[in-house]
């Protein structure tokens, strides 16, 4: 029998695994209940979502940025679960301790692919998981209320989508990542295509095409990484070659091998442009960056509120995560030479999206375009390749994810009450609904970058990073100026949004689709306590990020520093274990060097 401490320790060590299993369990329960007690489906989904959120909060509390292993090296990936899928994998000198511990003793020369089920979080993925779990609460809350019929399939697919999104951020194996990346567009396609608005089919079709194409490109890049790793670790004498699918190994080894010289370097210099290009286009489509943003603006106004919350809040963050996880650490040789152009596209795209948003009248399209603009700036900060910018970009991505997710929920709530918000709707939308009004004002101000809320903290750090830039490129004065201009235009957009929602002057009786102004003001169906409760964690997080960003930066810094080690903008020393491992790898790949020289 386990004691309480042991039980907690067991749970704490496997929180990430539980974060994947709990929503899946929810899917099963919801499916079972569909024929027995359909009325309980919503409650079960809410309970499940609450449990997932509690687990994600526990995961955040349990994450120790300063944790070290027995040799004193920092442990960046924590709460990991690592199980082998394939039989008899090869043991190589470059294995992580956690992995070697779970492997059967004794190596072999057979090249069996090392496919594993590995999940865990570091200081980068931690926040995206928390973001997804937090936004799932309003997403599920938006499915209830009024005379809605409970459709269990919608709940089940939404919980599956949550699993896929969390999985994308936590899996540490290429195969798992490919599965999750493919699942997300598929689930979105069904959710939007079946439960979306008037033009749902076209929107779902377009979104699926873009996201699936992006996922395919990323998968192509991942396969290129696996094959490249195998090539680069191959010794000409023909003894061993590592066909590893571990993301940690791929991301850790390839830059080291490429820096080592010899054939590995030569191989990577040939292969890396292709991998870089597919990753760049794939993640740019997922972010989405200008000019590949059409799918988001086109899809969001046809998307059911629950999906819109997750899509704009967490779905669009996959791209940012991909940039931080793969593009930045893997291509230290290539990125500085291409980054100027990418930054220009990001910041120019942000300004463009902000201007398009200014000319929009539709609330959801405006929200989507504002999100595109902020995402562009986040990626620009991330690619400024210094610690302040990268941390700022990630923090801003999380903060804006919360803001836009909540904003999508509130617009959906308003739409549900109003019937529809047409582009020419001039009704005082929030008349008599002070809770909705206060929440909307709060979130819009947060998104606009008001001090004390998340937008300011992330935005400031982001711009500091963009300004500082990379030592090789120099300060990004111009980029910062255009970025600030984009943010100013977005501020104007948000002011107009507030005005549209609050102004009472343009009301003309009989214009609206849902009755007169008197009826609208008398109905006074404000946000319910349940809806407020669902929003509360997100709102608190927005305030927390704004008032004390240091809490988040402290946990983010070691992982981001590690990501940027190759660029020389951090002061991180190579951990002892990694140093030994890298030395061993370099030694191995240096053998062909001498052989080649002798030849």
């Amino acid at each position: 029998m386990l004691s309480a401490d042991e039980y907690w320790s067991l749970v704490a060590d496997n929180i990430v695994l539980l974060l994947l299993l709990v929503p899946l369990l929810g899917v099963v329960v919801v499916a079972c209940l569909s024929s027995i007690a359909q009325g309980a489906v919503h409650q079960v989904a809410v309970a499940n979502t609450l449990m997932t959120f509690a687990l994600s909060a526990a995961m955040m509390a349990n994450y120790e940025p300063t944790r070290t292993d027995s040799s004193g090296d920092p442990v960046l990936y924590q709460m990991t679960t690592d199980v082998a899928w394939s039989v008899r994998p090869v043991e190589s000198p470059g294995m992580h301790k956690t992995e070697t511990a779970t492997r059967p003793a004794g190596g072999s020369d057979r090249r069996v692919p090392d496919i594993r089920f590995a999940v865990g979080v570091d200081g980068i993925s931690l926040w995206f998981v928390l973001l997804t779990a937090t936004l799932m609460l309003p997403a599920v809350a938006s499915l209830s209320g009024g005379n809605r019929q409970v459709v269990w399939g919608q709940y089940a697919l939404l919980l599956l989508l949550e699993t896929a999104l969390i999985g994308t951020f936590v899996v540490l194996d290429v195969i798992g990542l490919c599965i999750c990346l493919s699942a997300v567009p598929l689930l979105l396609f069904f959710l939007i295509g079946h439960w979306g608005g008037y033009g749902r089919r076209a929107a779902a079709y377009r979104l699926f095409l873009f996201q699936q194409a992006a996922a395919l490109l990323v998968m192509l890049g991942l396969i290129a990484l696996v094959v490249s790793h195998a090539w680069m670790t191959r010794v000409p004498s023909g003894s061993t070659a590592e066909l590893t699918f571990s993301i940690r190994e791929l991301v850790g080894d390839i830059p080291t091998l490429a820096a080592g010289g010899g054939l590995a370097r030569q191989y990577w210099s040939n292969a890396s442009p292709l991998a870089f290009t597919v990753f760049l286009i794939g993640f740019a489509m997922l972010v989405p960056l200008f000019p590949l943003h059409g799918w988001l603006t086109g899809a969001l106004d046809q998307t059911p509120t629950a999906v819109a919350v997750l899509l704009i809040g967490a779905g669009t963050k996959i791209g940012c995560y991909g940039f931080a996880r793969f593009l930045v650490p893997l291509f230290p040789g290539l990125l500085p030479s291409a980054v100027g152009l990418i930054l220009l596209a990001c910041v120019g795209g942000a300004l463009y999206a902000a201007l398009v948003a200014l000319a929009q009248r539709d609330v959801l399209r405006t929200t989507a375009l504002a999100c595109v603009a902020h995402q562009g700036l986040c990626v620009a900060a991330l690619l400024s390749l210094n610690l302040v910018g990268a941390c700022g970009g990630l923090l801003h991505a999380v903060g804006q994810g919360l803001c836009f997710g909540v904003l999508a929920f509130l617009v959906g709530a308003l739409e549900r009450r109003r019937g529809s918000i047409t582009p020419h709707d001039t009704v005082p939308l929030l008349l008599g609904r002070w809770r909705l009004g206060v929440c909307l004002l709060f979130v819009v101000l947060a998104a606009a970058g008001v001090p004390g809320l998340s937008g300011f903290a992330g935005g400031t750090l982001m711009f500091l990073g963009i300004l500082r830039g990379h030592p090789a490129l120099g300060p990004g004065l111009g980029l910062m100026f255009w970025g600030l201009l984009a943010v100013t235009v977005l501020g104007w957009v948000f002011l107009l949004l507030i005005r549209r929602c609050f102004a009472a002057s343009s009301w003309e009786p009989g214009e609206s689709s849902s009755g007169s102004l008197d009826e609208w003001s008398r109905s006074a169906d404000d946000l319910t306590s349940g809806e407020i409760g669902a929003l509360l964690p997100a709102l608190l997080l927005i305030v927390w990020i704004g008032i004390c960003p240091d809490f988040f930066l402290e946990r983010m810094e070691p992982s981001v520093s590690r990501t940027l080690t190759a660029y020389g903008t951090t002061l991180v020393e190579e951990p002892q274990e990694d140093a030994e491992r890298n030395a061993s790898l370099r030694e191995r790949v240096s053998v062909p060097n001498s052989t080649e020289a002798a030849r």
Binding site: L292, N386, T460, M480, T488, S505, T569
Partner: protein, 645 residues
């Protein structure tokens, strides 16, 4: 040893934050209508604490208190380290301004309480939030923290100006639309001015590698080193900080928002101008003086902009028929004088500017409070029946304040003297002479504007007064609430400006006190000029029909130009807002009809192409199927063979 001033330093902003929380909690839990009294009490406590801190700081050997570290906002290592901590520190100037800000806030919130309507009540927590931000702005020394509280003050200003909806939910009021447009204009101007501040702060980090204001400004060697390395950078930083202050202090060319702000609401506007936004912005220029010393261009520009604003704003104020707007433009004009002094950069000029800022804030607040009393009375009664003790006292206070403000005793003379001081740096240019002339003329026009406002208040009609006060459908004959507390507050503000500020300067040895004692001839001349101005103003505005038609015709175009605000709104719309909107429409068109179809069209055709390729298979084209199978099998075999070596 713990700093004895630490509790006071924390108390001053802390009490405002506490007030916000208390007001909101009270409103949400019980009445759903916050009360203004916690705000008044909070301002009183903060003012007392600020005066206590002023005494403590003045007696301390280094003339400062703190720093008190509250918490680390953000810290990151790496090659470019970043450390932002919320640390409070008070010097003598910040203590003086803290006292002034909180004293003004007491008076203005008391005037707000007299209105006693639901809109004012809901504004109370927001006003406290803005005071919290302003107090923090005066106490923090980290540049990023300054940016943080600077923007927080603006956001609170936005919420303060935006009146909450009426309880009745009256949605058909066209004034709401105008209000929204006006607020948007005001906030957009502030936002435009915030961008340069953000840029300036970021550039400071780039240039100095630190955001700690005390470290950056206090280290002369470091400043000189940066100047040597990149002299243009210091100038750019100064321009950025100046642009931010210009936006917030409504200096030329960003003074169009004053009209909107003044017409939106009375006491929030008074609070913005005399206690929160404007003094905070001027303080930024004081704080950044060590940087301005190294940039002659920035100093000259500051002086020139200040002088132009001093004249233009006074001109506009003198042609306004809306009393709060006239007072607002008069404030901008006085701040223009302060800018001109700050630009000259001498120690006498800085002392004079600080003195005028403190005294002007208190006296202008008294004028705002008394004008509100008079407008409220006027809105409810006809002109003939307004002579009550309350209104007589208010008129007296207004007159005394106007006289003090205009006769040059409260700093204008000192500013002019400082402008006329020989400055070695700018000997070669005629700019100081131009600035001197513009400022000298503006002082006469300022006097005309203030006394014209007084005559306006004497003769204002009930409907105009109701509109100016922002009240709707005021029932005639209703007794207005007693004005005694407001009159007391106004009198205290007047005494504060006229007596306490000079005494504080004398007592605490703020600088060279000679400027406070102008020669008898100068003082007499000033008084004579002001009296002449009063007579002229009375002739021109109170009894215009008595003027010769030719003179009236000659003066009218100047008045019309001032009333139209020099068409600044139209110019900005044409030069900035219009092009941005046009570009936005073009971008929207491009996004929807060009990019959307181009990008969406090509991937959209891919499935069709795939379907075209797959069609032969469906049509029993066996050879196609077999070929595909063969290619796939061969590829798989090749891969397997490769892995087998």
């Amino acid at each position: 040893m713990a700093d004895p001033a630490a509790p006071l330093i924390i108390l001053i902003p802390g009490v405002h934050l506490l007030t916000v929380l208390l007001s909101l909690t009270w409103a949400l839990l019980s009445t759903r209508k916050p009360s203004l009294w916690p705000s008044i009490a909070g301002c009183g406590v903060a003012a007392t604490a600020a005066i206590g801190l002023l005494f403590q700081v003045s007696t301390s050997p280094d003339g400062s208190a703190g720093p008190v570290r509250l918490f680390d906002w953000a810290s990151l290592g790496g090659v470019f380290p970043l450390a932002v901590s919320i640390e409070l520190q008070a010097g003598r100037l910040s203590c003086l301004l803290l006292s002034v800000v909180n004293l003004v806030a007491v008076g203005v919130t008391m005037q707000a309480a007299a209105r006693a309507d639901s809109r004012s009540a809901w504004r109370a927590p927001v006003a406290s939030l803005q005071l919290f931000a302003t107090n923090m702005l005066l106490l923090v020394s980290n540049f990023l923290a300054i940016l943080l509280f600077w923007q927080l003050a603006a956001v609170a200003g936005f919420l303060l100006l935006r009146s909450p909806p009426d309880a009745s939910g009256n949605a058909t009021d066209t004034a709401d639309s105008n209000q929204s447009t006006a607020i948007n204009r005001v906030v957009l101007t502030w936002m435009v001015a915030d961008v340069p501040l953000a840029m300036g702060v970021f550039l400071i980090w780039l240039a100095f590698g630190s955001l700690d204001g005390a470290a950056v400004m206090g280290d002369g060697d470091r400043l000189a080193e940066v100047l040597q390395r990149n002299p243009a950078l210091i100038t750019v930083i100064c321009f950025c900080l100046l642009a931010a202050a210009v936006g917030r202090c409504a200096q030329f060319p960003l003074l169009g928002w004053l009209e909107d702000s003044a017409r939106l609401s009375h006491w929030p506007n008074a609070l913005l101008q005399t206690a929160t936004l404007m003094p905070g912005a001027v303080y930024l220029l004081f704080f950044a003086q060590p940087l301005f010393v190294f940039s002659l261009d920035a100093c000259l520009l500051t002086s020139l902009l200040g002088a132009i604003t001093a004249l233009l704003a006074a001109w506009i104020a003198a042609s306004q028929n809306h009393a709060p707007a006239a007072l607002s433009y008069s404030t901008a004009s006085h701040l223009g004088l302060i800018f001109a002094a700050l630009g000259s950069g001498t120690s006498l000029a800085l002392d004079a500017a600080a003195f005028h800022l403190a005294a002007h804030s208190l006296i202008k607040a008294a004028l705002f409070v008394t004008s509100a009393i008079l407008l409220r009375r006027a809105a409810r009664t006809e002109t003939s029946s307004r002579s009550t003790p309350d209104t007589r006292l208010a008129y007296t206070i207004f007159f005394a304040g106007a006289l003090l403000l205009c006769c040059g005793l409260l700093g204008q003379n000192a500013i002019l003297m400082s402008l006329r001081e020989p400055q070695q740096r700018v000997e070669a240019t005629v700019l100081p002479t131009i600035v001197d002339w513009l400022c000298t003329i503006s002082i006469g026009v300022q006097a005309m504007a203030v006394f014209r406002t007084l005559f306006l208040l004497l003769s204002v009609r009930a409907a105009e007064a109701a509109a100016a006060e922002g009240a709707k459908d005021v029932p005639r004959g209703d007794a207005a609430s007693p004005a005694a507390p407001e009159n007391v507050a106004a009198a205290l503000l007047l005494v504060g400006g006229a007596v306490a500020v000079p005494w504080a300067f004398y007592q605490f040895r703020f600088g060279n006190l000679d400027f406070l004692l102008p020669e008898t001839e100068t003082a007499g001349l000033n008084l004579g000029v002001v009296l002449l101005v009063v007579v002229c103003t009375q002739m021109f505005y109170a009894r215009p029909r008595q003027l010769p038609i030719g003179l009236r015709g000659a003066v009218e175009p100047f008045g019309r130009l001032g009333r139209d605000l020099f068409h600044l709104d139209e110019i900005f719309s044409l030069a900035v807002a219009g092009p941005v909107r046009a570009i936005a429409q073009v971008c929207r068109f491009a996004d929807q009809y060009v990019l959307g179809r181009l990008v969406g069209g090509f991937p959209g055709r891919i499935p069709q192409l795939v379907a075209l390729a797959a069609k032969p298979m469906q049509n029993e084209a066996v050879q196609f199927y077999v070929l595909s199978l063969l290619i796939a099998t061969t590829s798989l075999l090749a891969v397997l063979l490769w892995f087998q070596g």
